[in-house]
Subunit: 488 residues, 2 copies
């Protein structure tokens, strides 16, 4: 009960089969369990109200305890104890604690619903987690930053992207968390905590649409309304096994929405299946502008080279079963630098004045990114915009009407305890993969089609297959992707 880590390590059986589950997921193996305990920063304090022992045999018993956390409510612990090598040890444990009123790492404000759908429609029954960048009438916008929230006026109207879902009958469950000013793909918010990754216990959720992604992956909403500048929908979709669509740049109004870098900012959704994604997209996009897309796939080997080995292997195995052509997109590092220069210049233009007026309002990571953004000179921005025009021309010529396939992220979701080197390496890889859609304004759809085995886990960690299609091919891309799924 005292969270004595050494004692707990000794109480749990030493083998690779020792198993521990809680609301976040299941870990297998003594070492994985031990590592988890060291990362969680202390167990919730609790008293034992009652212990029930189910005798199994001379060397096995099931011990069921009703616990009373000091913060109220009741928990349950079911443990299989075995007598091994002269002492009793836990071979399996299932731990349950009372749920909080709301998970503040996922949500800022929640209702039942917070805003009801306007009328019965194709999205009736669907529940939306709105990223905390969009205006929702009657509520302020926080953009992941408490200081920003405290100064935010109550919105007097609702953002068009939100209104489209309400008009189609969806209700808003709540306003959900985001990385600060959406300027990260990790999904770690220093103020509200890191939302859970529903697919990989102890891993980051992916960002910046972290709250909507975790809300959908945990089943707390069916549609996550997010934004994607440099991967903010595709990365959390990949990390948590969701469908994630970054729409064609300019196809959905960005009114009443906190911007980051308008040249690249897009609206998009996260869902658990293709059907919900299609309905959300059809309810929002101007369908008269949408175009057909043929099932002609291309792969850019120089891009896929930025994936970690296990992801590259899964990607290679997947595309080996498809008919694809190789395409040369030029120097990928140069593409990324072009994207980053224009993005940083615009991000500072959008938020620099506010940040300078509010020292200390941002956490270290995002503050550091904006500090870099503030260093972009007008000359650098100008050169970046020139390079952007050239890159677009080159990429459009190379891709044409075809669909580019690539991994949605360079890795599976890193552990929240991963070292800085791994975090930075996978981030650099992922941003190179995601920048092609950003530079071209093309739609990009992440589809949960790959998995990578993880030590300590019974289930594979998901990775998305990303389809980048021609502009205004958003809806057609969903059809193409569905053709690739086992049920499609």
């Amino acid at each position: 009960m005292g969270n004595d880590l050494r004692a707990l390590d000794q109480l749990f059986a030493r083998g690779a089969d020792t198993i521990r589950g809680d609301a976040a997921g299941i870990l297998i193996g003594h070492d994985a369990i031990s590592e988890f305990r060291q990362g969680r920063g202390g167990a919730p304090a609790r008293n034992i109200l009652h212990v029930e022992i189910v005798h199994i045999s001379d060397d096995a018993a099931l011990v069921i305890a009703i616990t009373a956390p000091l913060t109220g409510g009741r928990g349950q612990q079911t443990q299989l104890w075995r007598f091994e090598e002269g002492s009793w040890v836990v071979a399996a444990a299932h731990v349950a604690l009372p749920a909080p009123a709301v998970n503040r790492s996922i949500w800022r404000t929640v209702g039942t619903p917070l805003v009801a759908g306007i009328a019965a429609g194709v999205l009736s029954g669907e529940t939306v987690a709105v990223k905390d960048l969009y205006d929702v009438e009657g509520f302020p916008v926080g953009a992941g930053i408490p200081t920003y929230l405290a100064e935010s006026e109550i919105a007097t109207a609702t953002s068009p992207a939100v209104a489209a879902l309400l008009a189609a009958g969806a209700s808003i469950t709540g306003i959900s968390q985001t990385d600060e000013f959406a300027y990260s793909i990790a999904g770690r918010n220093p103020h509200y905590g890191t939302p859970p990754n529903a697919a990989v216990l102890g891993a980051v959720p992916g960002g910046s649409s972290s709250g909507p992604a975790s809300a959908v992956a945990t089943g707390q909403a069916s549609i996550g309304l997010g934004t994607d500048t440099a991967g903010s929908i595709r990365v959390p979709a990949s990390y948590q096994g969701l469908w994630g669509l970054r729409t064609t740049h300019g196809s959905v109004s960005m009114d009443r929405l906190v911007a980051l870098a308008p040249t690249f900012d897009t609206v998009g959704w996260l869902t658990r299946n293709a059907a919900t994604m299609r309905t959300a997209a059809e309810s929002t996009l101007d369908t008269t502008l949408q175009r057909a897309v043929e099932q002609r796939f291309v792969v850019a080997p120089a891009l896929a080279a930025y994936a970690e080995p296990a992801v590259a292997a899964a990607f290679d195995a997947l595309v080996a079963g498809l008919s694809t052509e190789d395409v040369d997109l030029g120097d990928i590092d140069e593409l990324f630098l072009t994207f980053r220069t224009v993005q940083a210049a615009e991000a500072w233009r959008t938020h620099g004045a506010w940040i300078e007026a509010h020292p200390g309002a941002l956490g270290e990571d995002v503050a550091g990114r904006f500090a870099f953004a503030s260093t972009i000179t007008p000359e650098q921005e100008s050169a970046g915009r020139k390079a952007l025009g050239a890159a677009r021309t080159r990429l459009e010529a190379a891709l044409g009407d075809r669909v580019l396939l690539l991994p949605s992220a360079s890795s599976v979701a890193p552990s929240v305890n991963a070292d800085a080197e791994l975090i930075e390496r996978t981030r650099q890889g992922t941003l190179r993969l995601t920048c092609v859609a950003g530079l071209t304004g093309r739609p990009a759809l992440s589809v949960p089609l790959m998995g990578v085995h993880q030590p300590g886990s019974l289930l594979d960690a998901p990775v998305g297959l990303c389809l980048v299609g021609p502009r205004f091919g958003d809806l057609a891309l969903i059809d193409v992707a569905e053709g690739l799924t086992p049920s499609g």
Copy 2:
């Protein structure tokens, strides 16, 4: 997986030791588990993602399954299977499902927090569940009725009872559910569902402050701000093992608060311990008006006779250890009828016009109660008010400055599946117990000091000891009660 009740009954071992736990609590015994399944109206549909089997012996195995509910997220089932009498059966099961974004039976709107405390104070760190009768600036009031909510204006100021807690540093976690117009002590809301009883699996939570009570009992808030007309704080406190204080009538402003019967309506709180109750009360009450109360107890045998046998036995055992005198309060049925007549006349005066203008807005139970209320004639009300004056005089003379002890409710919390006869009998009994404080305007404090064994449960079901003290003895009553607790 198909929720085939007969098949599940056969799969679970037939004995009295078979055990099943989930987030709501633990049941023991095949029959209790079977009864629970029949009452729940179907298990959530789910697929199995992975099954891990831990071999124990030739006739025992632990089976751990990762499930994927169709509504998203992941669950876990840990089952002990044993080979008994020629077949494999489940001897113990621990079932976990993903938590919803918010439990809509407890809450209407939740934030992290919804409203922050105004400044650091004695209630800093405390979290409040506000019954959906109070104005909270920026939000509408629902009074437990969706039709009422839909027409409700956004509050432009905050009710004094809410503001007092905010001023002392508490934050508001959310707006929580109530029985419709607070006109019930059951805690069943036909629109939002029945909040869980955190102390007794499958039992009603008690009402009408059902949402605040369940929020505090489950640990989702530390202070429930409720109201009490005929027991709406004392009954849920009793049913869920909480401290519950109905304040002296008139001692806390009822401004910006949906009334029921103003002659009896009071503000009050639900907490898990005496210290939090004292701080909430001190932050709200005008302490200069508060008086001292001596530890002189009286018991009214004619009142306690309305308790069910198990509760009466627990009460008798408790007061046997105290120095008490008997007191005669007159005809209890007559007291209750007096209370009920005035309450009903006022309830109809408060809400009759709205109810007549909104046919079908209320559920059957509360609609029926208002239908009765509408039949009270002016002559009956006038006679009731005359009887009320006489009753007050008689009760004040009988009680004086002493503290009346009685059970807070006539029974432990009835099962949600209890038959109508039991529900009505315990309700009639409870209302007779609660009406003394209502008639006199005296403060009444429910303290979780009793328990009754329940078949199918490992823990006793709680019952409150109620202390009814002299007017404006609210704070003193908390001290007196603490002297009765094991740690006091």
